[in-house]
């Protein structure tokens, strides 16, 4: 057993794991944050996407012990339970950009990372940002539309400032 210490959704957390445990399993099993989903466990589907030091990564492709000292945001850290949804989450709902909800946390985090770096991302950048996230329900079109809504809103705010 190895002790790992990290920051998750703004809080310090410490847990003991076998060195072979993946970060995704540790987030789910040791920290009880089950919004990080496992769709393939081999790094293709993107359902387990988290933000690790601000970057969108697949938590199934890392060992928990490798995350020592890292700062992680999972879907549970994107909006607080009793606060409203974020603009991106609201756009997902308005555009019917989710059905079964299984890929949704990964999609939201991948786009969250995109907009943090590029608030006015265009359609190509949006498609590229979620090109590693599989969705079996929506056909992607409404997800892209939801992201474009956010991008346009960001654009409007920026142009009002100038």
């Amino acid at each position: 057993m190895t002790r790992t210490t990290l920051t998750i959704n703004g809080r310090r957390a410490q847990f003991d794991t076998e060195p072979r445990q993946s970060l995704a399993d540790a987030i789910r099993n040791e920290l009880g944050l089950t919004g990080t989903h496992l769709g393939c466990e081999h790094g293709v589907c993107g359902a387990c996407t988290i933000l690790l030091d601000g970057e969108a990564v697949r938590s199934c492709l890392m060992l928990a012990v490798q995350a020592e000292g890292a700062s992680i945001t999972t879907i549970e850290g994107v909006s607080l339970p009793h606060a409203g949804l974020t603009e991106l989450q609201t756009a997902f709902r308005a555009r019917h950009a989710l059905q079964c909800g299984f890929c949704t946390p990964g999609m939201v985090l991948a786009l969250h990372a995109l907009f943090t770096n590029n608030p006015v991302a265009d359609e190509d950048a949006i498609r590229e940002a979620i090109s590693g996230n599989l969705c079996r329900c929506t056909g992607y079109q409404p997800i892209v539309e939801a992201a474009l809504d956010v991008s346009r809103a960001n654009q409007d705010r920026l142009s009002q400032k100038t």
Partner: protein
């Protein structure tokens, strides 16, 4: 009116926050983990040499094989009427002596952690004696091949022969013959399967978390296999990450995990991994059609003659031969044809067993028929849309009985105006508008497909509605939900009758502890059937409330009306009661309405509640749909890009148009996967080659074209009071047909496009004689 509103989904917030509760998110104290040990051989005789090393590993609790199963345990029964006796081909929950596919379950390891269980599985000592494989249906039908089962390699075969096919073909002005093949692929929900079973020995109570699709049916089946009272078993559906027909059937694990929980007396959790899923979940679609299609000089299709061979894999599962059965029954599609012959064969091979996948049999049959129809139109030199226009069943001929049947139900198209939908689709898409120019190796093409998609099948559905003292509503439905949005759609139906906003309506489903009977969700039936049941229950709640208020206020029932959740006296609005107050009046034992004790048996004082069960129309209700695609094909690389796509359909009534459009758009992309990318590949020994998403390609965002869904609500279904036709399978159903026709159009005369998926390789060889 909440029916027809683009209401935002009630499910969304929990999913967006990561608060959905899927089966892998559930835990019970002191649970053990189970791992299924599976055959790596397609066909072999097997002997367990020793389990000792595995059992002695620290943390291993138990290992069970077929030798440990209860005496007299039956195979998993087929739950659907078939074209023959399926008993000799059914799958047992664990293989005994002989394995017949890669993935065949042979043992269950139970340990304190999944990692330990996986380690132990590696230590099981087995000897394998390989047997000659039956790698495909061609081999299966060869009389010299190895027999997979003592009863042979053909599970069933049947024929429909309507009219005089031979005479029409002999006298036709044009005849085309081709063979069309659809590859084996599967539903691939993004969430794998899983179960968590807990047995409380003291109360003889077994709870199973994780079932979906048909929980009541599967509970009855498990009760029979375990020889337990049905009431001692509760199936509870958590949130479910997609099914598309495959998930939720009764698989070997659906017996094994609850049975191990009974055996050990501790909760048992099994979560399938993706690699396992590839060989364990039902496969589907593998089918070959030899088609002869004939037309007269006036451009009227006169006959279809079809030989259909389906490869169902190693065993017959719960769906029997339903997929080729549906394909054979519905092959003629929306055309006015009275000469149709089909001979269908359900063959077995050393591959994973098969079941349904969204638009089962239809995706396949539509591809074969619509390709053949295009070939006929080309041969007669008639525009492909005009050719279809001439041959569609006219509204006056509906309801239309094809003359076939599937699962003992007649194939009937109940209602619609097919030509009107076709014209709308053609004009919205711009069928006659010129295509973008072909540039260099990039050739452009346009394709069209028309189809009828059945929906609303299955014998019955049920719902119970309960209103509490505060006017909150609970709807208990016999349906299940795998992400479609039924919690919202059914709340909208209840809301429309009860005039209570959907935010105050909670829909509970997939739980055998909450409603005694339920059909479940499959065959695009939930809006049609569960919608009907909720509507009926809501109407009786409303009637009961009005009757109660009439009694309380001593007024006539017809002077009362329900508005905004309150029953009011016409012309004297201040006289009235909210539904919550009515619910309080009707509380059992409440003396306000019924002074005690005139009668002990308070029949009507069971709260403001009602239960309704409704029966289905045997033929269900069908949706006519048109698919249109523009494609760009690179002749040098063979790459296909779908540039735009349109689906138009008449759904009768859309409870929530946003959800309906979502079903169509998402369904089209799923269909594109089956058309261009997805294939469960086997080698000639019967070894499954695709075990990851790196080699089994699902459509990504880059594969998704702009898709337009035209949802028409004109021709109501006569089968249910809301006029609904089910839309869940319209999306994928016509994609291979429309895209196949578009690619053929792009490549020009002489190109053969008859084998799916349309890979770059096949496109490059489409013009080579003899290749397909």
């Amino acid at each position: 009116m909440t029916i027809g509103a683009r209401a935002l989904r009630l499910e969304d917030e929990r999913f967006l926050r990561g608060e959905g509760r899927y089966v892998a998110d559930l835990k019970l104290p002191f649970a053990y983990e189970a791992v299924i040990v599976r055959s790596a051989h397609p066909h072999a005789r097997m002997t367990f040499v020793s389990l000792e090393a595995a059992k002695s590993l620290d943390g291993v609790i138990d290992i069970v094989t077929a030798a440990d199963l209860p005496a007299g345990l039956t195979a998993i029964p087929c739950r659907i009427p078939c074209h023959g006796d399926m008993a000799p081909f059914l799958q047992h929950v664990l293989a005994r002596d002989v394995v017949r596919y890669v993935g065949d379950p042979i043992a269950v390891v139970i340990a304190t952690s999944r990692a330990i269980a996986e380690d132990a599985a590696e230590l099981i000592d087995i000897t394998w004696e390989p047997l000659p494989p039956v790698p495909d249906s061609v081999a299966a039908l060869n009389p010299d091949s190895q027999k997979l089962h003592p009863a042979g390699n053909i599970a069933s075969q049947w024929t429909f022969d309507i009219g005089n096919v031979d005479a029409e073909i002999a006298t036709a002005a044009a005849v085309v013959r081709d063979t069309f093949s659809i590859q084996r692929h599967s539903a691939m929900p993004l969430e794998t399967r899983g179960l968590l079973a807990h047995y409380d020995r003291a109360r003889h109570s077994l709870e199973v978390f994780g079932p979906t699709k048909v929980p009541h049916t599967n509970r009855a089946l498990l009760a029979t296999m375990l020889k337990m009272p049905e009431g001692s078993i509760r199936f509870i559906e958590p949130d479910v990450g997609g099914s598309f027909g495959a998930r939720g059937e009764f698989y070997p694990e659906d017996f094994l995990i609850p049975w191990v929980a009974l055996r050990i007396g501790k909760p048992i959790r099994w979560i399938e991994d993706r690699y396992e899923h590839f060989s364990a979940i039902n496969h589907s679609r593998e089918m070959r059609f030899e088609v002869v299609a004939a037309a007269n000089a006036a451009g009227m299709i006169t006959a279809f003659d079809v030989r259909l061979v389906s490869d169902l894999g190693a065993y017959i599962r719960t769906h029997g031969d339903v997929v080729p059965s549906h394909a054979s029954a519905s092959f003629p599609g929306p055309y006015r044809i009275r000469n149709y012959r089909v001979h269908a064969i359900a063959a077995l091979s050393n591959k994973t067993p098969s079941g349904t996948l969204r638009a089962p049999g239809m995706f396949e049959a539509n591809f074969a028929r619509e390709r053949a129809v295009d070939l006929l139109a080309d041969k007669l030199n008639i525009d492909r849309a005009e050719f279809r226009r001439r041959n569609l069943i006219p509204p006056a001929d509906l309801p239309w009985a094809v003359g076939t049947e599937s699962v003992k139900r007649p194939t009937i198209f109940d209602s619609g105006d097919f030509p009107a939908v076709l014209e709308r689709a053609l004009s919205e898409f711009g069928w006659d508008k010129p295509l973008p120019k072909s540039e260099g190796p990039i050739k452009r093409g346009r394709g069209l497909a028309v189809l009828v998609e059945p929906s609303g099948l299955g014998p019955f559905e049920g719902a119970r509605i309960e209103v509490d003292q505060h006017g909150n509503v609970q709807v208990f439905s016999g349906c299940s939900s795998q992400g479609q949005g039924h919690e919202t759609s059914l709340a909208q139906v209840a809301s429309a009758v009860l005039t209570i906003p959907i935010e105050r309506i909670t829909v509970r489903h997939g739980d055998t502890g909450l409603i005694p009977f339920g059909g479940g969700s499959y065959a695009s039936r939930t809006a049609v059937m569960s919608g009907h049941a909720v509507y009926a229950a809501a109407l009786t709640v409303k009637e009961k409330a009005i009757r109660t208020v009439a009694q309380k206020l001593e007024v006539a029932e017809h002077d009362l009306q329900l508005i905004d959740g309150r029953i009011e006296l016409l012309g004297a609005k201040e006289m009235g009661m909210t539904l919550g107050s009515v619910a309080r009046l009707l509380l059992p034992g409440n003396p306000e309405l019924m002074p005690p004790p005139p009668v002990a048996n308070i029949v009507d004082n069971d709260g403001l509640t009602s239960t309704s069960y409704i029966r289905a129309v045997p033929g269900g209700t069908s949706v006519f749909a048109v698919h249109l695609a523009d494609v760009a094909v690179d002749e040098e690389t063979g790459k296909i890009r779908v540039e735009r796509y349109l689906v138009a359909c008449d759904v009768g009534t859309a409870i929530n148009p946003m959800i309906v459009e979502g079903q169509i758009v998402g369904g089209v992309v799923m269909g594109l996967g089956g058309t261009l990318l997805e294939e469960l590949a086997y080698d000639q020994q019967g070894v499954l080659l695709t075990g990851t998403f790196a080699d089994y390609l699902l459509p990504s965002v880059h594969d998704a074209p702009p898709i337009t869904a035209i949802v028409i609500e004109k021709e109501k279904s006569p089968t249910n009071p809301l006029g609904i036709k089910g839309v869940g399978e319209v999306g994928p159903s016509g994609v291979a047909a429309a895209v196949g026709n578009a690619v053929a159009h792009a490549l020009g005369a002489g190109a053969r496009l008859s084998t799916l998926p349309l890979t770059p390789e096949r496109i490059l060889f489409a013009r080579t004689p003899g290749a397909a």
